[in-house]
Structure formats: structure tokens, C-alpha cells
Subunit: 416 residues, 2 copies
């Protein structure tokens, strides 16, 4: 392969969505940011929108601002539905955190399958999903059936199928694995789950804005996800949830807050759930985070998921090729080799991954460490250049070649 | 009484916390804002802090920003604990919405009183509290015992006591009534609840930042509240929750998210709750709203609750006196006459309250309508002047005297 910087620049010159980088606030061009899958960058439009929301709306409109804020959760949901998740409007809404949404939808699903005693997940599901399911299983006296997943290969649909029976109420898995980037076969797994009458709940945190999500094609029932990774909604931005339209009338979530009530502002006696996706809302929605999620969703929608997924595949392929050319077996791929089987991040295994990760940060490259012994590199396609991959991998090569990482201490990161 | 504008100005001149108004962003000095108890004004410090958080922290620090963001929920909680709620540090934390927090704490309380079959609340509790309790009661097969409260007089402690027996697990009420402003007797009610072994959960939305909250004196167990009213945290800012320290080890909330787990970032198998107030957290916290809540809490803390409560009492007394002098029985007080029995808002009854409310908005005065036939006037003491009360009541007098309100149509507001 061509490992020159010139080649990276030629790839950037051919990049059909390369111009989107100019629409992000990038104050430090020396920093190589390989963690857009943990926290996406700041769009310039968001900066402007937040200033307007703070000064003109909160500062000047005050309580009257709710005339527009009240539609924000649905507006973001509709952008995500039409252009990111490719489902009909009214099936997605912004609300709470991913964890709270997972709780609401998992509980709603369990209520819709009374008498069934099993929840299925896997040991590679993101921790908060596993914890939320564990809590629900314990509270209801259900079995949490945890499938073993190979951390590099990702969910095996056959193992999921083997774990299913008529007693399974819910199958909850991540679509793109947070460590390896492996894509789960949503179509095969949802089909198998439906065959036994179970509902499916998908965690889309590492999917939304990075890859095509086959909610429609698979017939998936429920999904949750955050907006602060590939959707660039900013730190702790509100999460989204998806409920297939034909399930909405049947499902009721357990937290009966006023934003989920029919005719909320009549403030009447007794709870009656709203007749739409609004029934999955709970309390007063965060406006600043909502606006940031809106602008982040819009710029993602504008680039388009096909272009984003194609570039993500090219960027991750390129990183894998450079690693192979420069680092050989000192850093081995810990995820799918085929681009169509992974999201927009790649993960490498090295016994010294923690130390290498710290050395990279000291050298102005921001990756992520993941257990066990994994170096995770997120290549958000909206603003990451091939030249960034080249530069980051060059610094990585220097660190590994020189052994300079050995001067960093081994311990666990608290930032994810 | 002296109804001249000069008198109002002389009261402002003597106001020991009058200088705080200059620390808020007030772009329209003609607007009379009587709704700081729905959405507080924008502190200048918040404006600056949000710009810094967006540009320097999100934009430049990116994922590294979590090194400081991770402590935000606790930092805000500690300011609220020390200077707003007057409880020890570690008993308050910022998290989710008021509704989600009410759900978490009510569920935790019910789990801590197994075998008891009753939740007590009143029909004047804020709707979202009533709905959340209704949902929990229904899911668990419990009785929701709803006390009748006189909408103007507020909660009657004797009626609460009469509703209590050994089967009551939880008593949930608002400390300051959202309509009348009446203060519930937290000490008497908590004492009565504890006598039968029940736990208490208080909604402090209309209390925090307006009045002294006797959590400590009463021995109250649990509380929730928002930060976007008197605490000036901005639209949809995160809510707070309070759990008395000696209860924390015993209570477990039902939503087992990763932010509530011990050693969260080890991302290990199995949920074990954190050993502190952190166990009541769930998902990734909202950073922008968190910073706004922090600055809002700080400026409130700086003014001090004694000064704020005293000024709130003086402002509301003054509004009541002007209404009596100018409007006689055309607008009657619909709340406690004694200042020490009310929060920082006053409510008047008039059959045409909805139309008067619309006429006031058209005349540049922002009050709130409340059922039944109530005009609610919130006088946030941090930035409301006696001259504002005089000006707003002058415009109200003109509208009522002229009958001009009759040209506005009658219907319900959706904004609260």
C-alpha cells in the first residue's frame, strides 16, 4: 500500500463530504482526534444556535420561549427518523438519557409480554444496558440470560437464536459493539426473536450517524441511543428513543411524568398516556442540550448516511492498512476485517494498550482505551480526514517503535 | 398604604440584595416579569460560563472535558446542600428531571417499606408528582390515597395525619403549593408520617431558592426539585434530589444505570450501587444544563436564603396590598395572607383570570394562569424590584378598570 502523506491527501481531495470539516469548530489543528465516537466535535451552527437560545430565547423571551421549545424533542426526533434512522416521522423522539430510555422501553416491553420469564442480552453489551436489564430482571423475578460474545467478532446470531425460547420476553443488544465496532446482524436476530414472540431493543449509541441502521428492514421493535457521539450533540446531550409505530398504542412505559400525558397542560387528575410517541416522554426536556442535538442531527442528515458510512469504512480500512504496514503483529486488529461488518471505529489489541493510549494523548492524539488490552480509534466521518489518520498512525508508530510508552503507568481510565 | 411609585423606589433603595439584579441579563427593561417561578432569568455569569463550556471545554478539550464534567452533578448538589437547602454535603445531587427523580425516590421508598400498601399525596400536588405516584401504585397494586386540599389554604397537616396508618409506606407532597404558594408544614407532617413508620418525599420545585426549607429540622427523608425556577438554571435544566445521609445505604433506586454504579468506569459485570448519593444517578449527565444550574445555584447561594425569603415576603405583601388598594374585591387573594405561610408567589382569583392573563401579556407583563380562575404572580426576589411590582400592578389595574381584558378569548394555556 501507499503509506505516504501525499496519498492521504489525495484521498481527502476526492472526499465528497470533506467540506463538512469546515463547518466544525476546530481550534487546535495539531490535535488528532480519534474519539468522535465518545464525544463528537462542536458544529459551528451549534455554537451560534446556543448563543441565540441563551441570549434571545432564555434571556429575552423567558417563559414565552416554551412556545418553540415545546416542539424540540419531536423536531430532533423527526430529523433522526427521516435522515439518520430511516424510519417514518413520529417513531423517534428526544428524551432523557440512554440509560433512562433503556429502562423505560425495556419495562414497557416486559409489560407487553406478561408471563414470560427471560430477558436475553450478551456480555459485550454496553455496561449501562446490562445493569438496567439486571435491575429490571431482579425487580420482577426474571432471568437475565447473558450470551457469551467474542469481544472481537461481535454478536453471533446463532448463539442468540440458540438462547431463544417461548419464555423470552425481550432481546436487548448493541447494534455496533462499543469495543470492537462489530455490527450485529439486526435482521437475523430480530427475525429469530420475533419467531419466538419476543420483542427487540437495540442500543444504537455507536450506530446512529455512522452506519445504516436497518430498523425498517429488520422490523426491529425498540431502540435507544445517545446524540453525543457521531451525532455531535455535545457532552451529556439528551438521548433518543425509537418505538415502531404499530407498537405505540400497546406499550406503556413505567415513569408517568407530565410530558407523557395526554393534554399535558390541562394538568388534570389522573394519568392517561399521550396517543403518540410523546407517551414515552417523562419530565421537562433540556432545552440547551436539545438545541445542540438538533443542530448535530441536522448536519449529519445533510451529509447523508450513505456517504458517512462509505467514508467511515474507507477511513477505518485505511487505519487498519497503515497499522498492518507499520506495526505488523505488535498491534493486531481486534474487530472485523471486512468494512461492512464494522462501525466507524477500529480497535487494536496490544498488551501495553493502556500505556500506548496515554503516550498517544501526550503526543496530541486522542484515542480510547478499552478492556481487555484494547486501543480504540474512532474515525468520525463528518470531520476526520485521511490525513488525520495518517498523522495519528504516524505518531502511534513512533510511540510503539521507540518503546516510549513504557514510561507511562498502567491503570484504568475513568473517562469513556 | 402609600401607593405611589416613589414609595416603591424607596423600598428598592433600602433593599440589601437589590444589587443582584445587575448581575442578570435583562435586555428589555419595559417587560415586567412575574414568572420567575416558572423560568428564572439568565445570570450574566451563566452566559459567560456557557460560552466557555461550549468553546473551550467541548470545542477544545473535547472528551478530555470529562475530567471536570464528571464532578458537576456533585458540585451543584454541594452548593444546593450548603446554601439553599441547608443540609450536609453529600445529601444532594443534580440528576435527570424532577419527574424521573420523583419516580426513583418514590420507588426506592416503597422498596424500603415492603408489605405496606398505601401511598399518600394530595390533590393539590403538582400533576407530574401525582401521575408518577399513580403509575407506581398501579404497577405495584398499591392504594394511592389522595387527600383533598383547599386550593387556597394549602395542605392541612391534620388531614394528612388523619390519612395515616401503619399501612402507609410513603407520603409525597409539595412544600410550596404551585398554585396558591401556601407552605406545607413540613415539620408537623414529617413527624406524623414518621410516627406510623412512613417515609416522606417532598417536591421542592417552588421552594428551592425562595424560602427556607426545613429538611433538617423536620427530619424529612427524601426530596426532589427543579433548578429552572428560583434557581435560574435555564429551560429544562437538570433537577436535583435529596436523600438523607443515614438512608442512603438502605435505599436503592430502580434504574440501574452506569453512573449509579460503584467504580463506574471499570465497566465490570454486574451492578453494585455506589456507596454515596451517586447511587441515585443513572445515565450520562447533561453538561450544559449542569453548568447553568451551577451558576444559578451559586448566585442564589451568594444572596442567601434568609435575605431572599425576607424580600420575597416583602414583595408578595406589597403586591397584595396594591391589589387590595386598587382592585378591591374584583381580584381576591387566593392564598395565605400571612407572608410566613407562603412562598415567593401570590395568586389572585377572578372569574376572568384567563383573559386578564392574556391582556397582561399584551401589555408587557408576564404572569401565569392557573386553574381554577387564578392569576399567579411570581416575584423572584433575586432580581424583581418593588418598582416592578408597582409597574405590573399599575398595568393590571388599568386592564381591570377599563375592562379591556374582555377582548381576549377564553382558553387554556399550554405553557406552565
Amino acid at each position: 500500500m501507499d503509506t505516504t502523506r501525499q496519498y492521504a491527501q489525495s484521498l481527502d481531495a476526492q472526499d465528497s463530504i470533506g467540506h463538512f470539516r469546515a463547518r466544525f469548530y476546530i481550534p487546535d489543528e495539531q490535535l488528532v482526534y480519534f474519539d468522535g465516537n465518545s464525544l463528537g466535535r462542536l458544529p459551528l451552527a451549534t455554537r451560534e444556535r446556543l448563543r441565540e437560545a441563551v441570549d434571545r430565547e432564555w434571556g429575552h423571551e423567558l417563559i414565552r420561549g416554551w412556545d418553540s421549545w415545546i416542539d424540540l424533542a419531536r423536531s430532533v426526533g423527526d430529523v433522526l427518523a427521516s435522515s439518520v434512522l430511516h424510519v417514518p416521522p413520529g417513531e423517534v423522539i428526544l428524551s432523557d438519557s440512554t440509560s433512562v430510555n433503556a429502562y423505560k422501553l425495556a419495562a414497557a416491553a416486559l409489560d407487553a409480554r406478561p408471563g414470560r420469564g427471560v430477558i436475553v442480552t450478551d456480555d459485550d453489551n454496553f455496561p449501562t444496558d446490562r445493569y438496567v436489564l439486571e435491575g429490571l430482571a431482579k425487580a420482577r423475578g426474571l432471568e437475565l440470560r447473558v450470551i457469551e460474545t467474542d469481544v472481537d467478532a461481535g454478536v453471533d446470531p446463532d448463539r442468540v437464536a440458540a438462547a431463544l425460547d417461548d419464555d423470552v420476553a425481550l432481546v436487548c443488544l448493541s447494534h455496533v459493539a462499543y469495543r470492537s465496532g462489530a455490527i450485529a446482524d439486526m435482521v437475523a436476530i430480530t427475525t429469530a426473536a420475533h419467531r419466538v414472540g419476543a420483542l427487540t431493543l437495540w442500543d444504537l449509541c455507536h450506530s446512529a450517524g455512522a452506519v445504516r441502521v436497518p430498523l425498517r428492514e429488520s422490523g426491529a421493535d425498540l431502540a435507544v441511543g445517545c446524540t453525543y457521539k457521531y451525532l455531535n450533540g455535545g457532552p451529556g446531550a439528551p438521548a433518543f428513543l425509537y418505538v415502531r409505530e404499530d407498537l405505540q398504542a400497546e406499550l406503556r412505559q413505567p415513569i408517568w411524568g407530565w410530558f407523557g400525558r395526554k393534554d399535558q397542560f390541562a394538568m388534570g387528575a389522573g394519568y392517561e398516556p399521550a396517543g403518540s410517541i410523546d407517551r414515552f416522554l417523562v419530565g421537562t426536556p433540556p432545552v440547551l442540550g436539545g438545541y445542540a442535538a438538533l443542530e448535530g442531527a441536522r448536519i449529519t442528515a445533510e451529509a447523508g448516511l450513505d456517504a458517512l458510512a462509505a467514508k467511515g469504512a474507507a477511513l477505518t480500512d485505511y487505519a487498519i492498512d497503515l497499522a498492518a504496514a507499520w506495526l505488523g503483529d505488535r498491534l493486531t486488529l481486534a474487530g472485523p476485517a471486512q468494512a461492512e461488518r464494522r462501525g466507524s471505529h477500529v480497535t487494536f489489541r496490544a498488551p501495553e494498550a493502556w500505556q500506548i493510549c496515554q503516550a498517544l494523548k501526550a503526543a496530541g492524539v486522542i484515542p480510547d482505551f478499552r478492556t481487555p488490552e484494547r486501543l480504540r480509534i474512532g474515525l468520525a466521518p463528518l470531520y476526520t480526514r485521511f490525513a488525520d489518520v495518517h498523522e495519528g498512525m504516524t505518531r502511534l508508530r513512533e510511540i510503539v517503535d521507540s518503546g516510549s510508552y513504557a514510561s507511562f503507568e498502567a491503570s484504568l481510565s475513568r473517562v469513556t
